[in-house]
């Protein structure tokens, strides 16, 4: 088991190291094969590990990292079904994306750097998945942040892209402060950072501490998973290569926040306030992002906003105490969203970097039927059209939310349901506009570049999963086995049961919401509507601008945080540091120099002056003596 897990972690790391050190010397096929082989081997390792330790929870020590004065951070693996399944998902999606990338990056010079980062990313993501110690987990946590930074700005000659990477890194770091403080608080209260240790002694935590910890962890998760209020980086992160968006900014890294909350669910569960906060973040973000997705023209930005929205559902699931639901949606989302992204990538590349859906049209569908089909499968899942995977996973979360009870959670459910309508609407807006009918705006070129076939065909497994992954946890009233719930039952906090609401009713309602969304999409953007009407509404209109800009949140941050921060920095440098502190010292020097000039003026060069000092000096001495004598 230890060897297996070590291999699982070591393979991607090894791949990354080799590529980092020798990548520029190796031939392109060699690099591609090495990178893909490392990930595929890791996938096999993850599978065998899952098979070998089915349903068990194991603490596997790998490497003592560092310890001092009672503080200890060791690189141990906490292998339980949750991490096992997550590891399989991560390696599986990664493997497909690696292979897809071989095609996608076929024209790029910096392939070695690309695959090095990608392998490194998988390593860090697996660390997040498997780590037992929070410090070790943080290694992966920050590591994926770095890889995200490096890959968003992969085409670094374009400063815009690197700035987007920088934004992502800094925003997630703002969240990480919560993680760091939570670590300190865990150490101060429980004396350990080990997840297993924390969960074992979780009852020692007071509700107040648990609330604080819950909120800190939520803050960390919000940063990583691009939830409100730290979500503005994700739409910009689409500047990276599209497979990267698929892997990092859809399937894996952005769900790391959700995963963290799942891992520490017993702590959250101690505090109703923390759970309510998680739910609020999830519900509001889901709704907020679906609205924003509705206003986008860039195909990748639509998907990005939709990712934010879907991760919001996962938060909602956790808030409702439904770990399985969260995990279910996480998995389903990983499959269909990475599929959607890679489909979009194929379209973009075929159209010579065309991102605007209003410049696409039915010619895309006719030129690349398999791509369209794959994309359509993903869209079905995203829009939660029964029986695609999204329908079941989202339904499970909404069901759990409603059955949690209480006015607040009912409100959350209502928001989630509204978001579900919007999801169906924007998804099919995308499908209709991009793949049917004539483009509302003239495209740059009509000529469509043929893509390597393997690049498309490697996506079929994802397509199948997008459609069928609902089977992982088919609800009871669909006579399903609830395989996932069963598998996760040993995970702490995953044994919740839901009563009070008919699951069937909720499922039917979900299907209804989906239908409403589809209907609206058909009416507004369907192939029958005139191309002119299908175009984006008047860009000057306030409502449209709001949607397009994500309710102006980014601009708001720029205005209220970034600009004052930069101004403060300049102020500190010019006024405080150079103008006050340094000037205070330098003016000391000036002061002494002035005094010195004055002192030198006493030496007039005239003998009489010097003689005068004798008499005056004597007189002064006498005066002092007389004054003291008297």
């Amino acid at each position: 088991m230890q060897a297996n897990l070590s291999l699982l972690l070591a393979l991607p790391l090894f791949g990354a190291l080799v590529l980092a050190l020798l990548g520029r010397r190796l031939s392109r096929p060699m690099v591609e094969r090495l990178a893909c082989a490392a990930i595929i081997a890791a996938f096999i390792a993850a599978l065998t590990a899952l098979a070998g330790a089915w349903g068990e929870t194991r603490l596997v020590p790998l490497f003592p990292w560092f310890s001092a004065g009672g503080f200890s951070a060791s690189m141990d693996v906490l292998y339980d079904p949750l991490s096992g399944i997550m590891a399989v998902m991560v390696t599986f999606v990664s493997a497909i994306i690696h292979i897809h990338s071989v095609g996608y990056m076929r024209g790029d010079e910096s392939y070695a750097r690309y695959f090095c980062y990608l392998n490194l990313f998988v390593f860090f993501m697996l660390v997040i998945t498997l780590a037992d110690n929070l410090a070790f987990l943080f290694l992966g946590w920050e590591g994926v942040g770095f890889c995200s930074y490096a890959l968003i700005g992969f085409w670094f000659a374009d400063a815009e892209r690197t700035l987007a990477g920088r934004k992502a890194f800094v925003m997630t770091r703002i969240g990480d402060v919560g993680f760091l403080i939570a670590m300190a608080l865990f150490f101060a209260t429980l004396g350990t950072l080990s997840l297993s240790g924390i969960i074992a002694s979780v009852s020692a935590l007071s509700v107040g501490t648990a609330t604080a910890l819950g909120l800190l962890l939520l803050w960390a998760a919000v940063g990583k998973s691009a939830q409100l209020p730290l979500l503005v980086w994700l739409p910009d992160a689409m500047a990276g290569p599209t497979p990267v968006s698929a892997l990092i900014h859809a399937a894996t890294m952005v769900t790391a926040g959700v995963y963290l909350l799942m891992r520490l669910f017993p702590v959250l569960a101690l505090s109703q306030a923390a759970l309510a906060a998680v739910g609020a973040v999830g519900a509001v973000t889901a709704l907020f992002a679906s609205f924003s997705a509705l206003g986008q023209r860039d195909i990748k930005r639509i998907l990005a906003w939709s990712t934010i929205s879907q991760v919001g559902y996962m938060f909602l699931g956790i808030a409702a105490g439904d770990l399985c639901g969260g995990m279910f949606h996480l998995l389903a989302h990983a499959f269909f969203k990475s599929l959607l992204f890679m489909g979009a990538g194929c379209v973009i590349q075929a159209l010579h970097e065309e991102h605007d859906i209003f410049r696409m049209g039915s010619r895309v569908r006719t030129a690349m039927p398999p791509v369209f089909l794959l994309f359509f499968l993903g869209a079905l899942a995203l829009a939660a059209v029964p029986p695609a995977s999204g329908y079941f996973s989202k339904g499970r979360i909404l069901y759990a939310t409603l059955s949690h009870g209480g006015g607040l959670f009912t409100l959350y459910w209502a928001m989630g349901s509204l978001a579900a309508i919007l999801t169906a609407l924007y998804t099919f807006r995308l499908v209709f506009v991009a793949f049917f009918g004539d483009p509302a705006f003239p495209p740059k070129t009509w000529d469509i570049e043929p893509l390597p076939r393997f690049m498309i065909h490697v996506l079929w497994p994802l397509g199948a999963l997008a459609l069928l992954a609902g089977g992982l946890n088919l609800p009871g009233n669909f006579s399903g086995a609830e395989w996932l719930s069963h598998a996760l039952r040993t995970v702490p906090g995953a044994d919740a049961e839901f009563h009070g609401v008919s699951e069937l009713a909720v499922s039917l309602a979900d299907a209804g919401f989906c239908a409403v969304g589809l209907f609206l999409a058909w009416m507004l953007y369907g192939p029958r509507t005139a191309p002119g009407r299908r175009g984006p509404a008047d860009p000057e209109r306030f409502a449209h601008r709001m949607l397009r800009s994500g309710f102006g949140l980014d601009a708001l941050y720029r205005k209220t945080v970034l600009t004052p921060f930069l101004a403060l920095s300049g102020f500190m440098r010019r006024v405080v540091d150079e103008g006050a502190v340094d000037a205070a010292f330098m003016s000391q020097g000036v002061l002494w120099a002035r005094t010195s000039m004055a002192a030198r003026r006493l030496a007039t060069g005239r003998t009489s002056t010097y003689l005068l000092t004798f008499l005056l000096g004597l007189a002064a001495i006498c005066a002092v003596l007389l004054a003291k004598g008297a």
């Binding site: 001092a68 946590w141 590591g143 770095f146 300190a184 405080v576």
Partner: protein, 492 residues
């Protein structure tokens, strides 16, 4: 007591090498060889001393009478902390010599002599066990550094060198009074400068306050702690690359070392009183320096301010005075040296190519020299405290340790991590990415073998301390458990 005076050799070997380079100054090649040979021998010697220092069974010490009428002794000893710092000094010494091969063409003999002389004085500071001897080495450091900055520096070098010297000497001279004061505070007839004896019998509390203030001022200037830091950006900016490396890596450490080894244990009551002040100064330093760093346009100046910010964490960790925070602070001393040293070396290499230190003169460096770019990003990430690299370990320990007694301070310091990232990314952005500045010359070679010789060991050590710092932390365990109980008010 060893038969072979290992510690004295460690101190005076570089001085001997300095003499050799002066004598060989006619031939630059021989100078370089002599300097490199000395630096390597010193590194080897330090590496040999490390196991002895780490082993609690052997006591590595020397002790001889020097000025008997004042009870001054030539007393040296090496424990884990001193040993590590000496090793680090020797390591950076080798790198500094190597970096200078290309950069220094003017009067190499004198240059290497001064470089090696700094090594001597720094080793002396780290090894002295007699207050007078410590002070002597402490002040000696200034002279070679003054020349390194002033003679081989950049355009404003004279002003920067003078500023450096005057700031340091202002602190140092007041410390001299306090050194004498600490001596006079002992009962007549039994006066000594032995650190052990001084620690065993601290002065009366009201005397301690004055003495501590003077010591602290000297160390604060050297570390440097805001607001007496303003000499540092100028000194770093103007110094030659190796000068910056030694300044950041070694000289600043002597300040932190003094704070830990002298100021706190010698004056425990005053130290306990000063903890709130230290926290305020530490946090002010962290935020102030980070914000100032962000507003810089000169790459070296930016790194200099980052140095101030990183050192502020050491202040916080020392003030918290518990096993975790103190281990972190000590480790941070070494980590900061490696990371900041790496950044300075890189900026030196890049500005040698571009002919300017302005961020605006870089841009697109990665495109032009991918290997250098990769190293640069690596050092940047180490500076930003990315886990898996060295700074993370020490910063986490420092702040987690601080949290146990002072959660507010630690939380504020944790939040500073965001600021750190902002300026580090600004540095990377301006240097590596985007399109090359129009002023860049045609000739822009990628890393040369010599440069790889400098960068690879540095990167390897950063990685080593990031992934396997336990050996170093084990060495620090002895000193930490030795220091902690010296201030009962802080150590529960």
């Amino acid at each position: 007591m060893n038969a072979f005076p290992l510690l004295s050799t460690l101190i005076f070997l570089p001085l001997l090498g300095a003499l050799a380079t002066v004598l060989l100054s006619r031939s630059p090649a021989l100078c370089r060889a002599a300097a490199l040979g000395t630096a390597l021998a010193e590194l080897l010697l330090a590496a040999c001393a490390i196991p002895l220092a780490a082993d609690p069974g052997t006591i590595l010490a020397e002790n001889a009478a020097w000025i008997p009428s004042f009870g001054i002794r030539y007393a040296l000893a090496m424990d884990g902390l001193s040993g590590l710092l000496v090793l680090m000094t020797a390591f950076l010494g080798v790198l500094a010599v190597l970096t200078s091969f290309k950069e220094i063409t003017k009067r190499p003999g004198a240059y290497y002599a001064f470089l090696l002389a700094v090594e001597t004085s720094a080793c002396g500071v780290f090894l002295a066990k007699d207050l007078f001897l410590f002070y002597l080495f402490w002040e000696v450091q200034l002279v070679p550094m003054f020349f390194l900055i002033g003679v081989w520096g950049h355009e404003d070098r004279r002003k920067a060198a003078l500023k450096f010297f005057l700031f340091s000497i202002a602190g140092g001279m007041l410390m001299l009074l306090a050194v004498i004061g600490a001596w006079l505070a002992q009962p007549e007839g039994a006066r000594t400068f032995s650190l052990a004896a001084l620690m065993a019998a601290p002065a009366a509390p009201h005397v301690q306050n004055w003495l501590f203030a003077a010591f602290f001022l000297a160390f604060a200037v050297k570390m440097p702690i805001v607001p007496v830091h303003t000499w540092l950006p100028d000194a770093h900016t103007q110094a030659p690359t190796a000068g910056s490396v030694i300044l950041a890596g070694v000289l600043l450490k002597t300040g932190a070392y003094g704070l830990i080894r002298l100021a706190f244990p010698l004056f425990p009551d005053a130290a306990a009183l000063s903890v709130p002040l230290l926290f305020v100064l530490g946090l002010a330093g962290l935020y102030h320096a980070s914000l100032c760093a962000l507003a810089q346009t000169d790459a070296k100046r930016l790194v200099a301010y980052s140095s101030v910010a990183h050192m502020a964490l050491i202040v916080i960790g020392v003030a918290a005075w518990n096993a975790v925070s103190l281990s972190g602070a000590m480790l941070q001393m070494i980590n900061h040296a490696l990371t900041t040293g790496g950044l300075f070396i890189m900026i030196g290499m890049l500005s040698r190519r571009s002919g300017s230190r302005e961020l605006a003169s870089f841009g697109g460096v990665w495109k032009r020299s991918p290997v250098l770019g990769a190293f640069f990003l690596f050092f940047c990430m180490a500076s930003a405290g990315l886990p898996g690299l060295n700074n993370f370990v020490s910063e986490l320990l420092t702040l987690v340790g601080t949290w146990t007694g002072h959660p507010g301070v630690a939380a504020a310091a944790f939040a500073g991590a965001v600021l750190t990232l902002t300026y580090v990314l600004k540095l990377a952005q301006g240097t590596l990415f985007g399109t090359p500045a129009a002023t860049q010359p045609e000739q822009w070679p990628d890393a040369e073998p010599l440069e790889l010789c400098v960068l690879s060991p540095l990167a390897a050590s950063i990685l080593y301390l990031g992934f396997a710092p336990q050996a170093v932390l084990d060495m620090l365990r002895g000193p930490v458990s030795d220091f902690l109980p010296r201030i009962p008010q802080l150590f529960q």
